[in-house]
């Protein structure tokens, strides 16, 4: 029992869960509105886009890299998809837009992949660069402006509901979007890949020690390349879902999300140095940050404080990983002392 407790105490998931519970109770006590069906549904619906982004960011961080280009990548891909479909007066269903944005995502992700896997450039620098390039293409080449009317297939997908939750007291209703299924499906796929395929174990292996992974026989180039292609596809899907749910394409309103998403992943216990982290932690960390973003208003906290609390969580999250790094350095110090013996 003691051992289980101790084991639990060492896990970030445990602390994140406590933080989530504490925050929900605080909101509930203050507003009485947290544990209502429509608020929960609202939260889950707000989780879709950051959740998808987080899954991509999580895989990249596990492999020992970091990707800051996904909001720009998603924006460019969703904008291109919507623009083309609007210009051709597309009247069909959601399938074609999804396929198109997955293709754009794969192509843009492949750019990251080639630069990082083939030319062995540092992922942070590469994605900072491609992030600017993607934004430039969108705003310069495509002349991006807000698109207020999107194809009917997309808007009906975005507003379709799995079910509708009604708050018996206030009579407010919230729709659970069909798009939530996309998050669930991607989550299941990522879980399967990471836990049950050699590809997924290879991601962890590369994050742990890239040279060893190469010597063990992993195809490091292919694993990294496919990783960035896959992450590009997931991010694009998130971008498209965002457009559908808002029923309009706003070229810049996803930009800047990378800090919040990465902070959520790191808060959930994913080592920024690569190689370790769990999907549970990744999702819990993201949920916590989405709660902060969405629920402070229920606490009566003015919206401008959202940025403040988000910042505090980012610092705490980064602080945790900084602590991990300094612990690792101390462990290495212990090693050099062993050498003396």
């Amino acid at each position: 029992m003691n051992r289980i407790m101790k084991n639990l105490m060492q896990r970030n998931e445990f602390y994140i869960s406590i933080a989530i519970v504490a925050l929900s109770i605080a909101i509930q006590l203050r507003s009485g509105q947290f544990f209502t069906s429509n608020n929960i549904v609202d939260l889950l619906s707000a989780l879709i886009v950051p959740g998808l982004f987080a899954l991509g960011a999580f895989m990249v961080i596990v492999s020992g890299g970091v990707d800051v280009s996904f909001p720009a990548l998603a924006s460019l891909s969703m904008y291109a998809t919507t623009r083309i479909l609007v210009d051709t007066n597309y009247q069909g269903g959601i399938l074609l837009p999804i396929v198109m944005s997955l293709c754009f995502g794969a192509i843009l992700g492949a750019v990251n992949g080639v630069l990082i896997a083939t030319f062995k450039l540092p992922p942070l620098i590469v994605t900072l660069g491609t992030s600017s390039v993607f934004k430039g293409i969108m705003q310069g080449v495509l002349n991006a402006v807000q698109i207020t009317v999107i194809p009917p297939g997309m808007s009906s997908f975005g507003t379709a509901a799995l079910f509708i939750a009604t708050n018996p007291q206030s009579g407010l209703t919230s729709r659970m979007p069909v798009a939530f299924l996309a998050l669930v499906i991607v989550l299941l796929i990522v879980y399967f890949v990471l836990q049950h395929t050699m590809y997924g174990r290879g991601l962890y292996a590369i994050g742990g020690n890239e040279v060893s992974a190469y010597r063990a026989g992993f195809n490091v180039w292919l694993i990294k390349f496919l990783l960035y292609v896959g992450v590009g596809m997931i991010s694009s899907l998130a971008g498209l879902i965002r457009v559908c749910m808002m029923t309009q394409a706003h070229p810049t309103n996803m930009l800047g999300m990378e800090m919040m998403v990465i902070a959520g992943v790191v808060l959930g216990g994913t080592a920024i140095t690569g190689g370790s982290g769990t999907l549970t932690g990744c999702m819990l960390g993201t949920i916590l940050l989405v709660m902060v973003e969405n629920s402070l208003i229920l606490l009566g906290v003015p919206t401008f404080w959202q940025g403040f609390f988000l910042g505090v969580f980012i610092i705490v999250g980064m602080g945790i990983s900084a602590l991990q790094v300094s612990r690792a350095i101390k462990a290495r110090g212990a090693l050099t002392r062993r050498v003396q013996q």
């Binding site: 026989g217 690569g274 370790s276």
Partner: protein
């Protein structure tokens, strides 16, 4: 005569015009324990990489049994039973023991999906080969260095290894762990598996190996049976130089002590330490790990502070509460781990040398006088014969011995009274070690007081004029070198 597992004939290899191997041959027989020795840069690692297929040789043959190759790939090397255990063990610290053991075979069989049951079986079989008992689900990063190494050995044995190459396997092990490793190597021998042991530590060479090959500057300097090798020959083959182990006799000892330590205590680390050091002397402090020797050294440099007692410099009591005050009182310190604590590795050799005397080299406005700086650097590079084509190169391009010289230069460029060195020749090869000792002796003759903290007993015995032995935080004996020998020192240490 046993059949040979591996034979390389007349291997030549050059990199960018530098001839790393100039026609080296080597033969290893089944079940043999063979030692490959040589100083840094002698071509040991190049040869290993050629045998394991990482590099292709320019000329020469690689022969496994009756198969002759002029070049091989890593996969061919593995198929012919060659396994290399690298210094970093090539493990995944973030993954479980099971995954670390099973990955190679799973990947070799081109498996796409993870089957934990099968992986567990593979891992258990691997561990059984050397009767190693460890939790399969433990993360490898949480294990000791010795266990990590055993995991690397288990993994190597899985693929029908006939020759295991171990690259400096004992570097990070304790004596007990080294013994355990040697037992395993002897066990492998019984199973007919040969071991090629790469090392530059001579006691290991004598202890474990039956035959040896020594490389020097890319050529084979010697080969033969270890039983016919002695200390002196070994050193000669390694370096091409003859060293005389003349004991140090101080010639220029000052009348008054430059440093005296009286009743110095620090709770939990050392107690009631008394000694004095005169200019021109070399004082050796030895003791086991945890005996308080390192903490005492750190106290002399102001990094740690003693609770009670006095430290006097030239008879004046001083309070050393930071490295800065220690430096101002003329005390220098060369740390145990020069790489992380003493040098700026990516920066140039020159900048490292002059870093502590920037004030001296700059004008009143704080602008560095380039000519003065250049001259100063040139002078130190010459004085300590630091082997570099250009002092503008990064410090990381130097070998261990030369890096240690840069650390020395950094300190000597200030006018010091006392220099404290913690493990000054750890991880440095024999030739450089000798040179560093000569430099220290010369410095002592010029009137510097030197303290060497080391657990290398021969080093202490030949280079110090006084020896303090620490045990459990106390000085258990103070001897002169002629009163002491290895046994005496060991007795006071334990």
């Amino acid at each position: 005569m046993a059949q040979s597992v591996l034979k390389v004939v007349d291997i030549k290899k050059s990199f960018a015009g530098v001839q790393a191997l100039k026609g080296v041959s080597l033969e290893i027989k089944a079940g043999e324990i063979h030692c490959l020795a040589g100083e840094n840069g002698s071509g040991k690692s190049t040869l290993i990489k050629i045998i394991s297929g990482v590099y292709t040789p320019d000329e020469g043959q690689i022969i496994f049994g009756d198969k002759v190759y002029s070049k091989i790939t890593p996969i061919e090397a593995i198929r012919n039973g060659i396994q290399v255990i690298y210094q970093d063990f090539s493990i995944f610290p973030n993954l479980s023991v099971m995954e670390n053991l099973a990955f190679n075979e799973e990947l070799a069989n081109k498996r796409k999906l993870v089957n934990r049951k099968r992986m567990k079986k593979i891992a258990q079989e691997a561990l059984a080969k050397i009767n190693f008992d460890v939790d399969l689900n433990a993360k490898v990063g949480s294990l000791s260095v010795a266990s990590k190494q055993l995991i690397a050995i288990c993994r190597a044995l899985m693929l029908n290894a006939r020759l295991i190459i171990m690259d400096e396997p004992t570097t990070a092990l304790t004596r007990k762990e080294v013994n355990a490793l040697f037992n395993i190597i002897l066990d492998l021998k019984k199973q007919g598996i040969a071991t090629l042991f790469v090392s530059h530590k001579l006691d290991e060479v004598f202890e474990i190996s039956e035959r040896f090959t020594i490389l020097r500057n890319g050529e084979k300097a010697a080969e033969g049976f270890t039983s016919e090798l002695d200390n002196k020959k070994f050193t000669y083959y390694m370096t091409g130089r003859e060293f005389e182990d003349k004991p140090f006799v101080p010639t220029n000892v000052s009348e008054d002590p430059v440093l005296s330590v009286e009743n110095l205590s620090m709770n939990g680390f050392y107690e009631n330490v008394n000694f004095s050091l005169h200019r021109g002397e070399i004082l050796g402090i030895t003791g086991l790990l945890g005996s308080g020797r390192t903490e005492l050294a750190l106290s002399l440099f102001g990094i740690m502070q003693a609770d009670t007692g006095t430290i006097k410099i030239d008879g004046e009591p001083v309070k050393l509460d930071s490295p800065e005050t220690a430096i101002n009182h003329g005390i220098g310190y060369v740390p145990e781990d020069r790489l992380t604590e003493g040098l700026f590795l990516p920066q140039s050799i020159g900048d490292n040398i002059i870093v502590s005397e920037l004030d001296k080299l700059s004008s009143r406005l704080g602008i560095i006088d380039r000519d003065k700086k250049k001259e100063e650097i040139r002078q130190w590079v010459d004085k300590l014969s630091i082997a570099t084509p250009n002092p503008d190169n990064a410090c990381s391009t130097l070998s261990g011995g030369n890096q240690q010289r840069v650390v020395l230069a950094k300190w000597l460029s200030r006018d010091l009274k006392v220099l404290v060195l913690n493990g000054p020749t750890m991880g440095v090869d024999i030739g450089s070690k000798h040179d560093i000792h000569q430099i220290l002796r010369r410095l002592a003759e010029q009137g510097l007081g030197i303290i060497i903290i080391s657990d290398d007993i021969p080093e202490i015995l030949t280079n110090c004029s006084k020896i303090l032995i620490m045990r459990n935080g106390r000085i258990s004996a103070a001897l002169t070198p002629d009163e002491a020998d290895t046994q005496v020192l060991a007795r006071y240490m334990m």
